[in-house]
Subunit: 254 residues, 2 copies
Amino acid sequence: MAKPEITGTQAIDRASALLIHIIEASTPPLLSQLALAHELPKSTSSRLLGALEKQGLIQRDRDGAYLPGSVLTRFARQRNHELDLSLKMRPVLETLAEKSGETANLAIVGNGYVELIDQVDGRYLLGATNWIGTQVPYHCSALGKVLLAYGVVKIPNGRLEKRAPRSITTRPALLAELELVRRQGFATIKDELEEGLIAVAAPVRDFDGNVIAAISVSGPAARIADKQLTSLGEMIISEISKQQPHGSKKAGAA
Amino acid sequence: MAKPEITGTQAIDRASALLIHIIEASTPPLLSQLALAHELPKSTSSRLLGALEKQGLIQRDRDGAYLPGSVLTRFARQRNHELDLSLKMRPVLETLAEKSGETANLAIVGNGYVELIDQVDGRYLLGATNWIGTQVPYHCSALGKVLLAYGVVKIPNGRLEKRAPRSITTRPALLAELELVRRQGFATIKDELEEGLIAVAAPVRDFDGNVIAAISVSGPAARIADKQLTSLGEMIISEISKQQPHGSKKAGAA
DNA sequence: ACATGCGTTCCACATTATGGAACTATATTT
DNA sequence: AAATATAGTTCCATAATGTGGAACGCATGT
């Protein structure tokens, strides 16, 4: 007996399923579509959805299609998830910058570009420019490759810009590279974003294991040998997992 | 009372109330606290919360306290709210650029700076540089002033940088300026971000009336007379409200 | 006018949610 | 170590609650 199946929750199960459907739908579903998809009578759907709407968990557009409600959109926006994230990842960046001596960055998906949201500089002068706010394309940065590889963002349409001598510019090559990233667990670039720039990046995952961000270490090719890339990648992975123990054990927190 | 009270939804009403409580709580509540606050028996609370947890709408931390679940955190992050927004606001930027001839921008709060997420250039060459990705401080941009004035972001700590001859650099002056913005409904700058640059910005609101972004029109002082500022401000406000009819309930037929 | 598709309201019915009590698991106190 | 308190889960008899077919409303299209 491994199934402690909760019972007496039919209504909530159904309503939750509808709510989740609405939250995750790429295009706002109509009542009839929801009813069909969940095999519910229209009357039942109407009642369930009405209740959710009354609470502000969902709302309807002028066509009557269902959208996430104000409670949810407010939660999504007001709560600065990025800030939470940078706060939580700060120590990781610091440790990485300390151990490697190079610059460490934290990035999430941005509007067409990698969005760098935090940085800790290494101990060298060369390479410590502030990246925050710069426009880094996905396909030619280590951070971007990680975000692409794990499906956090789709490969952008249009041409792949040749930013530097060795930028990847064809889709097949990029796809192969992303496959490699997934196999290795980390991404690298060399002369792909800027001549002489090397970077290594690994994914940051949430509670559920979904990739939500990436952390990189980057510096000049003059200081980072090719054979260090793997150990750097593993260092990043290890530091990230130290920060976010993927289990659910005891840990004092405020 | 003309209240079309929906009935037959007790379980969902209760579960929704609990869910919302958890979403909006500043500190994760325990089952007993939820039960107390909502005047429910522990057994009922346990069952309701168990159902929500099973669906991934809520999750428990190691103390057993309830947090928003993976479905919601994923929605909050991955779902590119900015993209939705730029898509919806594109026509407004286009109309404004068309009507005024100047550059129109859409911005949201960013990491310490105004984040410009879309731009439509005007018909003049002068002034059409691409702002997307640049670091614009809140206190010396029209967009930033709007975001500050309506509390979308707090006034940053630390000194107020003097970016240009007439940048506001003291807190009292800034507070007074923000009060003016709220009274007018729009914000302006002149020689505050860059010498010779004039901009006007107005707030973009969501369904509920919360300010979530700002739209500006900007150009060289040489082309924009002081007395045009008000009409520009009103034009922006009017175009935004055309895009988002503030009807809360039924918006009639198309 | 008629047909179609979407959504809401109604209501008889029994399935489903309810909540008190018993129980388990951890802290806290004596 | 036992006693007490606090937080949470499971059980189950009971009836209140949610259910869904049918009828109705209300647009839009033919």
